[in-house]
Symmetry: C2
Subunit: 241 residues, 2 copies
DNA sequence: GACAATCTAAAACAGATGTTTTATATCTAT
DNA sequence: ATAGATATAAAACATCTGTTTTAGATTGTC
């Protein structure tokens, strides 16, 4: 009758089963695409009403699930941030890219604790409720982390427009591989499964590509007084070497 | 009673109204997210059954709509391909990027004939039925066009792995701006509306960034015998200049 | 003007969804 | 052991979806 307290004496077991089942389902499909009945069935045949009993809403279940995922994601992010602390900027960039792409491409996605990459990635293209939460606690911090590294590589202040644009570009390359994964089913025969070695290769490429790009942009930015928005004074085709 | 022929004497007017209304709705939301009733309402209060009458299915309506959009998209693509023919590779790259980002960012999206950018873009993150058609007729040709240009810039054969990876990277940067557009509502105050001048700036930046990236990767590729997949022999941090 | 094909309109149908209700079982605390 | 809160189960509800049916209006052609 009174509101159900999660910290009750017992009965937290089916609650957790619902969360676990929902997490796996929401990792693959969007909020609207997963039905309560499906979640319950996956949670060992729980009753359809149990979701409303424990979480009030379907949205309540999703919310709680997201907060858990985001907390783990934050921990993983900070763990890795500490790990690369003090290394030279170029190596930081590689390590970040390698780490990020690894998460995007769902390395270790078999461990349920590591599903945040999948969920964040899916939310990006198919936002549910609480998308604002995902952006703020999941994407922005990550994006800022890359921006700091790019600023170091470019040897420019973090607020600089060129740094911002280069961060955009580097991130875009990384995210491309999640789009490519989806498209790969429709394209042709390319490897749909990524091994750690494959990911290494991708990360190395993206790093090299981005390093050259960042340096070129930084150079242009310095030359032209760093006033305009993005590469002012350039009429389209760059000066040949 | 007999199957409805589109080329009937008259009555193609409400048919077209349905197509137009559906096009605008599907440009913003996915196939599943738009209901038949909504389409009919937008089409001047048409009856709910009219979609099934004219197009057999909801999927039939969508299919016909897509084919029309893809045809216009192909025409626009070939128009632009002819336009940049013969220009130097670097300028080709800029012109392609400028053109592509313009479409992605929905320049001229007020003209209904120009909605393909919006629809293709949405399909990319939220595929409906006939997604295979979209990929094959909408995305692949476009992607190949960029690959040809990248190969010219890199001075490498089109099949080369480095060219493939660089194409990926350049395309990724372009697509980033469509993601950014979605996120911009949740980020902060950044300009959510893109002017032609803004797009110019973005395209110039992406071009500069990619040019440096492509050249660096091509150089590495030549040095290391062009055997491995993506930048072999590099242990993560690149050689300092 | 009358017939037949075509188009429009309203209603009804079958299925799925999230949620609420009702009833029954289970457990803890007194 | 019994009372009261808590947990489970089944069913019913309201709403939305795409689709079909049925009936009525419109139209072109002979």
């Amino acid at each position: 009758m009174t509101n159900p307290d999660p910290a009750s004496q017992h009965g937290i077991e089916p609650r957790q089963r619902l969360l676990d089942a929902a997490t796996e389902l929401f990792a693959e499909r969007a909020f609207k695409e997963v039905s309560i009945r499906e979640i319950c069935e996956k949670a060992g045949g729980a009753n359809v009403a149990s979701v409303n009993y424990y979480f009030r809403d379907k949205a309540g279940l999703y919310r709680e699930l997201l907060e858990s995922i985001l907390a783990r994601w934050e921990a993983e992010r900070e763990r890795h941030a500490k790990l690369i602390e003090g290394k030279p900027p170029e190596e930081k960039l590689y390590l970040y890219v390698r780490w990020f792409i690894g998460n995007i491409l769902e390395e270790r996605a078999d461990e349920r604790d590591m599903l945040f990459g999948r969920i964040l990635n899916r939310e990006m293209s198919d936002p549910g409720p609480d998308f604002r939460l995902i952006v703020q606690k999941g994407m922005v911090p990550n994006w800022k982390r890359l921006m700091t590294i790019v600023a170091e590589v470019a040897d420019l202040p973090e607020g600089n427009q060129a740094v911002l644009a280069c961060t955009h570009g580097t991130m875009g390359q990384c995210l491309m591989y999640s789009s490519a994964r989806k498209l790969s089913k429709y394209f042709g025969p390319p490897e749909t499964h990524f091994t750690p070695e494959t990911i290494d290769g991708i990360a190395r490429h993206v790093t090299q590509f981005s390093l050259a790009g960042i340096r070129a942009i930084a150079q242009l930015n310095r030359e032209s007084g760093a006033a305009g928005k993005a590469g002012p004074g350039c009429s389209g085709t760059p000066p040949e070497e």
